[in-house]
Symmetry: C2
Subunit: 319 residues, 2 copies
DNA sequence: TTGTATGCGTTATCAT
DNA sequence: ATGATAACGCATACAA
């Protein structure tokens, strides 16, 4: 493997000069530049990038922490991140955590070891104080509604979204509204519950703990939702659903459970995934790809920035 | 940032000794080991991994080249790869190419620059001779049926699969069988056409170029398939479909096109994705996750290996 | 405009 | 068992 020294010898210049043409610095005569370039040609020289990293103390590598790869929500975000990464000349290192804290910490450790210039966390399990410990080693950007001085963030106002969807259903005459979530202690779940309780109080509606269905993330989780719903004496007449995946599952399996949609149960999905359009799902469109792009921008920036995105209620056939 | 030198000074030993305990080499006295470990504790020392990479000439980074992130087929493979990567202590660098050759080459370049120890290519656009040029820099493993001395590979026998599905449909009485593909010049497409023509000849069936529908990859592509099929005087009575995504779309939109399934048109999907079960799609199960795991194993191995996986025909309601 | 010398943090070699 | 020292390949302050 020819290195910068060989190159210098071959071109009859110093390594500094070679380094200069390599990094397109000014102050190198045309004659020598050509010599060096010829030497590069002849030898098929290529930098050892690890030496560059060591010397510069950075890698152009960005870590992306996310729980699942096989869920359209995160896939869309990841597409946005990766497209912007291409534009900005960054490379992505993937950390699918499945919500295991060790895998999340692997990313953090690599940040600390200077293998990563920054980390994007799409959904976290580490508590915030832990993350705050790591910002001294490099920027961390969160896909989460959190106005912190430590992290940049990109988010939609889930509380507002949820409230809006609830009011929409209320306007359509629904009084018994349920909702599905994935993790009881997830960030979104807390927000949803708060919005839900506020909504109930505003309209003087009773709170029913049975109207919150958890464990709903994938399409096939929908069966369990219907099953649980069927056990209720007074089932909800409308459901705000974790994602279009679950909403699609609910619609697909509704017949088997003898439930007419939207008559017996209205459904509002989330994300406006392709399947939502195919199945005519009423849903809330979230600009996930654009959010992914912004995540990359933020993690590259030296400033702490917080960007909020707007959502759109897409009225189709399930309400 | 404390480095190995500081550590040595603090522990009153040489850097060599520190390096030895860091890398768990033998020949270091218990006393010194403890001293060093204490120094590590006290300083919160962490290796600069880039220095390790430079010194060792390897990175424990594996590149994964794949066209799309938002398709269940590749998502499943990627999950397999990443789970095995965790076990083997490897980290994944992602190259979503969207079939743009420059992005594929970015991975190859990083292999050449020693930033990657190896590259897994799930679907390629570069011709094989180009890839062969790069194996001198590190192992390349293909998700593709190709017995080459240059690359390891992981695959299912698509020709056999396709043939088997065709025969299955033939046994069910179908004589006018069509199929969908994504890219006309994709690797799979060539294989499928070959199997198709062989099948037709064996049963002395006529070849009809209209029975091959291209551009079908995502769920929403299914509409175009139905549209084109509707223009045919003698439409096929059965369809072998690119993926369960497309198959699902076909089933979902069948009603709108006034097509009864399986009566008017039988459908066989591919991959046995979750949606296939939900919609009762007859499909061919491919062990994508297991294949992903094997991909990672192969790229880590110094041997060239070729692993074939078996598939299963899942009979459900669309044939 | 160019080159020398040094630093980056670690591992590997070799002598003791 | 331990340590000095030379790589590893490149960037850069400083001198010229």
């Amino acid at each position: 493997m020819t290195n910068i020294k060989d190159l210098a010898k071959r071109a009859g210049v110093s390594v500094t000069t070679v380094s200069r043409v390599l990094n397109q610095h000014p102050y190198v005569s045309e004659a020598k530049r050509i010599k060096v370039e010829r030497a590069i040609e002849e030898t098929g020289y290529l930098q050892n990038i690890n030496a560059v990293h060591l010397s510069k103390g950075k890698t152009n590598l960005i870590g992306v922490v996310l729980p699942f790869l096989d869920h359209p929500y995160f896939a869309q975000v990841l597409i946005g991140v990766s497209e912007q990464a291409k534009i900005k000349g960054q490379t992505l290192v993937l950390f699918p955590t499945n919500y295991e804290i060790e895998k999340e910490q692997a990313a953090l450790r690599m940040l600390r070891q200077k293998q990563l210039d920054g980390v994007i966390i799409c959904s976290r399990v580490s508590p915030l104080p832990v993350l705050e410990d790591y910002v001294q080693y490099g920027p961390i950007t969160l896909l989460e509604q959190r106005q912190s001085d430590h992290f940049s963030s990109v988010f939609v106002d889930h509380q507002a979204i949820f409230t809006r969807a609830l009011e929409y259903l209320y306007d359509q005459g629904h009084r018994d509204i349920g909702y599905t979530i994935y993790r009881r202690n997830g960030t979104h779940s807390t927000v949803r519950e708060k919005a839900y309780r506020t909504f109930l109080e505003r309209h003087r509606l009773p709170f029913n703990p049975d109207y919150c269905f958890d464990g709903a993330l994938y399409l096939e989780d929908s069966k369990a939702v219907w099953q649980k719903l069927k056990t209720l004496k007074h089932p909800p007449t409308a459901l705000l659903v974790t994602s279009d995946q679950v909403a699609a599952g609910l619609v697909i399996h509704a017949e088997a459970f003898n439930i007419a949609i939207p008559k017996a149960c209205a459904i509002i999905g989330l994300n406006d995934e392709p399947i939502a359009k195919a199945l005519n799902l009423t849903t809330i469109r979230i600009p996930l790809k654009a959010m992914g792009e912004k995540l990359l921008d933020h993690v590259l920036s030296s400033e702490r920035e917080h960007t909020s995105f707007d959502v759109t209620l897409i009225e189709r056939q399930t309400v």
